[in-house]
Structures are given as C-alpha cells and as structure tokens.
Symmetry: C2
Subunit: 462 residues, 2 copies
C-alpha cells in the first residue's frame, strides 16, 4: 500500500485533535451503493472520532476554515448521501459504538451512532426486546445512518420507520455545537420537533452522535406466509384484500415477476409454475395470536393463489427473510448493475406503479422489475444495467427521472427510504410547492448558514 | 346582546373575504382552559373560514398589514395557545369540518382541521377502524388543534401521539401560502420533515387546514383493569412490573391518593378502604388476546394490591374511561380552580415526580395531586386553587415553575401534551442548550419572519 504524504489539512486537524482520530483516506470511505452508477467522491481527510466531542471539535475547525464535512455511517445508502462530492473532511462514526445505557426493564436504550443496526437488534433480542426497524444490510448499516435517512424496512408497515423509535438525539450542529433534544422520555412537546427534523436530514443539518431508542417486548412468534400469484393484478388485489379484511400483518411485501425470475431460484421452498408475483405477509404476536392471524392471512392471500409457503420454526422463518433481504443483490447479479429508486405511492396505485415501471423500462430498452414494501406502497422500481455499458446506464438514469414523475402523478413521493442524497437532487421541486421548497432551503440555512455540512445532498430544488 | 360597530379591520377584511366569514368577536373565542388562571385575550376580528383558501387570503391580508393572527381549534388547551394576547385576527377553524376523502378499506382518511376529534374516532369506528389518539375533551377538541399540539392521551402508550397518525398536512404558512406536505402515502423521506415540524408547533409556524390520517382496524376488545394500591411506592412498583414482565398494555394510567379522593366517589365500582393510588391498565386486541393479556396484567398489578376492578362488557369499559376522562374536572371542582402542568419524566422517576409534586405543594401551602399517563411518565401535576383567592393563584404559578425545574432535574420535559403556549413561555430555556434554542428561534423566523403568527406562543427563551 502506497502511503500518501499527509495533506496540510490532515496536519492541521491532527494538531487540533491529536493524531489518533485521523486515518488514511481509502476507497472504502468515498462511495456507497451508488458506485455502480458511477458515483465516487474524494476527500482531503478522514476523521474517525472516538467521542462526540471529537465530532464537535472537527466540525468547529472545519466550519471556521470553510471546509466541507461529510458524515458517514455504514455506507449502505442508495442515494449517494455519504459520498464526499468534492473534497473536505469525511467524519465516519464507526468508532462510536458504545451502549451508553441500556434499561431493558424499561424498554429503552441509549446507543452511539456508529453501532451497527443488527447489533442493536441483537442486543435487544438477548433481553427479550425488539427494535422493529429492519432496513436491508443491517449487518453493515449503522444506527446513526438509519436515523439520518429515517430508514424503513419490511416491518415498517406495522411498526413505523426508524424515526418512530427515536425519543432523543445527541447531535453536533454547525458551527460545532453538541446539542441534545429529547431523551429517554417517551413524550415531549416542549419545543419545535428538532429531533424529528434531524431524523431523515441525511447529515445536512447536523451529525447524529447518539440516540435514545424505544424498544418493545419481543413478539413470541413471527409467522410469515408467502403467496404466489399469477400476475401483478392478482397479487395487488390480494394485498388490498388483506387491508380490506381488517387483518394487521407486521410486514406486507411483494416481488413482481421479473424480480421473482432473478431471486426465485434461491427461494427456500417451491416456486409454483406460472408464478408472476409474490406476496409475503407476516403475522406476529403471541404464539396463538400469530398462528391465528397467519391462518387468516393465508385464507385471504390464498384466494386464487398458485401456491402458499408457510415456514414453520425459527430456522425456516429466518431463511425466508434472509432470502428476502438478498433480493436486491440477486437482481444486481443478473446484469451486473442496476438503477433502483424507492418511490412510494398510495396503496391503491401500487399495481399501476409496478406496471408503469415495466413500461418505462420498455420505452428505454431496459430490463426492469420492482419489489418492496407493498403495504406501505413503497416499491424499489429498478432498471437492470449491463456492467460494461455506460450508455445503458445513462438511459437508466433518464428512466429514473420518469419514475419520479410517475410517483408524483400517482400522489406519491420520490423517496420512501433512501432519501434524496445526490441522486435525487432537485427532484423534490416536482413534488412540493414553491413555498414549501423555500422553507426547505430556509431550514438548511438556519442550521448550516455556510452550507458546509454534506454539501450538494438533499437539495430540494436546483 | 349589544352589537359593537364593526372595527375598521373588520370592514377591511370583509371587503377582501366577503361578509360571510366575519363573525362578531365573542368571549368564547378569547380564552381556553387557562381562564381559571386569569388568561383572557382580546381580538379585533374573528374569521370563520369555510375553506382553506379563505384561511390563506386572511393570513395574506394580515401579513401584508402587520396584523397578528391567532388560529383556534376547539379551545380546550391548557397552555393558552389559542388565546389572542393582544388583538389582531382570530381564525377559528370550526367550519372546516368536511371529510374530503375516506378510504376505509385502505385505512386512511382526509379530514379538515375543524372536525371534532370524537367525530373522527366515531366515523372510523363505524367502519370497523380505529383512530388511536384520545386526548381529553375529544367531544370539543378539533383534529387541527390536536395536530397543532401533538396531543396525546391514555392510548398514546401503545399507539403514540397524534403526530404518529398524520401522514400528510395541508397548511397555510406566511405570508399566506397554502402548502401540502405528505399525503395519503405512509412513508415519505423526500424532504426535511416539514410535516413533523408543523405538528406540535401550536399555530406559530402555520395554520393546519386539513390532514391525511392513518387508521387501524379496530381491536375487537378493550379490557381495562383498575388496581388499587396503598401508596405511590406500591403503585409505581406495580407499573414498573408491567413493563418488566414484557406485557404491552394499550394504556397505563395512574391517579395518586389526593386525586382519588376527588374523583373516587364517582368511580364506577368499589374503591377499597385505604386505597392511596390507582393504576389502570388496558388490554386490547382480539377477544382472546385481550382476555389473556388482561389476566396477565391483573396478576402483575394485583401483587400487593388492595383490590382490582375488571369491567366486563362495552358499557362498563366505557363507564370506566368516561370516569377517567372526568378526573380533571373532578379535581377542579374541589376548590374551584387549579394550576395543572403536564410534565414528563423517565418512567423510573415517576414515583419521585409524584412525591415531589406533593412536596412542592406543601412548601407553597397548596393542596396538590397528580394523575396521568404513567407508562409515558407523563403526569398532570396539579395545585388546587381556591376560586376566589388570587394570591393563592399567584403562589400556584410560582409552584408550577418548580415543577418545570423538577422535570428537567429528572431528565424529563416541561411538556408532554399541553405544549408551551403562553403559560410555559421561556421555560424551554431551562431544558435545551443555547445552540438548540437558537435553532428554535431560527425556525420560527424561517416560517414567520414578521412574527405575526400566534405571537407570544411557544416562545422557547425570553
């Protein structure tokens, strides 16, 4: 490994922070899941703080010297939110992994931002508790990044997104101040909801360094059922039947036919011939309650279905969800790359959004597919791109713009999970009225008057 | 009734809006539940808009002419948030009562801000659905006011506060623009969370005119159990045992001994001799699930209890909650007035907060008591005040300041439900760091640069 001479910026930061938090800038800190779309940044320095105070001192120095700062979690984002676009300092929070306090008998935990999501979930589970948010890549992603993007996941249908579980935040805001809003209390209407504003702000308003999270007693049982249907229409009707029947699954997922082609071979069970759509619904609760609910879900989803798969036992259930978690990778594997956007539509427009994704793909000569969180109307609308054809990539990026227009035409949103990051910059201008866009810009200015915090990200209007 | 000649302001507004939305300024529009604390406002005009557009045009005119605007819901607030402190225009939303859209099979409804909370809940129930937020005074309060204060209630323990059920807002923001953020979609991370920021902003950032609400299938059964304990210590231990046992009641309420003295005579059941603390826990879900959970709650709460009351049948259950809803009035009735604050503390500090409330009362020579949402650590800490002794009222106001200090000392918040309004102005400065307070002020400026929207309310620092 060639070692580069430290930049003057690195030397100056080391003088302030000591040498310990400084680390060589390696490729691992310059990209995220948008690398296939050609996005790779550059940085002048990498800081790995071991305390919130180091985060504050780093931001203070950068703010004084007009140096951009890009906070970074696990780097599993799909919007380029963690990519340093044009130099400056990357602050990666991976060393902030302490559990500051854990009160399992009171259903709450205070963790630092760099703790991996899967570790939060595991620790809760070891104490009979449950941290519901389950975005993909939980083994790599960090809780701070989940908060910065307000991450979702399959179980958001019943339990809500990450922000619903955050009762308090510690964050560093420009020009380098450590602030705390909320705490372990479960209700707080004392001020404007700065906590909620920082959640999902993608590191453009402040850098989350720690969070108080609510937990729940773990449900005794999780019992999914996978229902294969012939086509989009039949599958989406089955999904609407679930809601119309007053059943409350914990998760309500779908895969369209093309996704099923990519991921089906690894499915832990039999995929019936002619299956062109998959619905997965999960029942949870006490053993009896989950069993009863799954039976009802099976009845409702089974109407006209080609086949049902009902895993039993923790191993089989886990295998199904592991498979579901791998869908994105299976789709990427087919042609090497993909452009995948996380649009949201009202549930009754889901079928239309799925069909339109295919139509947009056809118009652009791109294989396409979608899957995602059916109950929330949140689809990962995807164009598959050859690994070595950049002209195809360019077409896919144009096709993605049509997805955003589609979402807005259907009264939806350009993003349900990934956020705006870099790849959706300016797209909110299609969705919001000018007065709301102006407030968006004013809020950014209120927090970050110099525009140094994750510049170029979550930009509402260009 | 003496009719006052219309003010010049009224005449000018009528010229813009037509005469229909203008109404005589009567006492009913100048106060709220703080009247006992001597708070009563004055207004130069009252507008009762029948459309969001009239709200926008009213605000536009007022903004142009530097006239303060005070939005008003049902007037059931405890913080003076709806009181026009020093003239200007009151915009009361009571005519905006349309259901714009209701999709019961998709668990969602779009209602205007003036619809009464109880009507939203009733309409949902008539279609087998459930709108969980249940603040007191639901028959009077309006959904727009609930959103403006982010109202809670007993069932917030399991289901969260009002904001958790709002997926989209229509609001008028200065200088008079109608904006929409979110909609019927259940997830949206496209922009900064303006929706969340408007929720709980007490009409100081914008005027909510309509909202998209999420609903749930109604649980089959609601089965409360009331457990009488000897004292605060025994009662709070019982409450912590519920969480420690991994039971998840829908509501977890308490009344201390003095509250029980005031409200006990009307209790729909037998109050055992020596009872000095009441815990109410409610199980909900399917009939079997609710019954099973109530049995477990009864076992855990029954340990050392003086008696348990377990209502059966919808009538008895409703009677218990109607009684619970009347506690505040029963306490007021005892001496004619009260000063009641809604502090929040971490659950493990609840006993301390209850005892300290009594100690503060003793130091100020005031009878005191508390009750509230135990599971959320949210207590209505109350000083009883004689109807005709203003010196006593002044002492109670000083005592309230000690409550805020207490909440902050216990790592809590000065408000869990009522908001800051006028009565807690400046108190957030005790709770938040200067950098957070500065952001609070900047956000207000970003939305309302002239400071004309509900002036003097939700002021973080004086």
């Amino acid at each position: 490994v060639a070692t580069k001479a430290p930049s003057s910026l690195e030397r100056e930061l080391a003088a302030i922070l000591g040498p310990d938090p400084l680390a060589p800038v390696t490729a691992a800190y310059l990209g995220d899941e948008t690398e296939g779309r050609g996005l790779r940044g550059r940085a002048d320095a990498l800081v790995l703080p071991s305390s919130a105070d180091v985060v504050a001192r780093t931001l203070a120095w950068c703010y004084e010297h007009d140096v951009p700062v890009v906070p970074r979690g696990g780097g599993t984002g799909f919007a380029g939110g963690a990519v340093p676009l044009d130099g400056g300092v990357v602050i990666a929070l991976e060393r902030l992994t302490r559990v500051r306090r854990f009160d399992p008998l009171l259903w709450r935990i205070n963790v630092e931002a760099g703790m991996r999501t899967a570790d939060v979930r595991r620790l809760a589970r070891e104490h009979g508790l449950f941290f519901p948010p389950d975005p993909g890549a939980a083994e790599q992603s960090q809780i701070g990044g989940n908060i910065a993007t307000n991450a979702g996941g399959p179980h958001a249908f019943k339990y809500g997104v990450t922000g619903a579980w955050v009762t308090g935040l510690e964050a560093v805001v420009p020009p380098g101040e450590l602030v705390r809003v909320g705490g372990s209390v479960r209700k707080d209407v004392a001020g404007y909801d700065l906590r909620g504003l920082l959640v999902g702000s993608e590191g453009t308003l402040g850098i989350v360094t720690a969070a108080w999270l609510r937990l729940l007693p773990a449900p005794e049982a999780f019992l999914p059922v996978a229902a294969f249907h012939r086509d989009v229409q039949a599958g989406c009707e089955a999904i609407e039947r679930v809601l119309g029947s007053g059943l409350t699954p914990a998760a309500l997922e779908f895969l369209d036919g093309a996704t099923l082609e990519a991921a089906g071979p690894a499915f832990p069970g039999e995929v019936p011939a002619g299956a062109g759509f998959l619905v997965i619904a999960e029942a949870d609760g006490s053993r009896e309650e989950a069993a009863r609910l799954r039976a009802e879900l099976s009845e409702v989803l089974g109407e006209g279905a080609l086949g049902l798969v009902s895993p039993t036992g923790a191993g089989e259930v886990e295998a199904l969800w592991r498979w579901r978690d791998g869908v994105s990778i299976a789709v990427t594997a087919r042609r090497g790359r993909k452009v995948s956007e996380d649009i949201v539509v009202p549930l009754d427009r889901l079928a239309e959004a799925i069909e339109e994704t295919l139509a947009i793909g056809r118009r652009h000569g791109l294989p396409s597919c979608s899957w995602g969180h059916a109950g929330d109307g949140n689809l990962h609308a995807t164009f598959e791109v050859s690994a070595d054809d950049d002209e195809e990539l360019a077409r896919a990026e144009l096709a993605a713009l049509e997805l955003f227009a589609l979402a807005i035409r259907l009264d939806g949103s350009i993003s349900g999970e990934h956020g705006v990051g870099w790849v959706k910059r300016g797209q909110l201008a299609r969705q919001w009225e000018p007065a709301a866009l102006a407030l968006h810009a004013e809020i950014k200015r209120a927090f970050d008057p110099k525009g140094l915090l994750n510049p170029g990200k979550k930009v509402a209007a260009l």
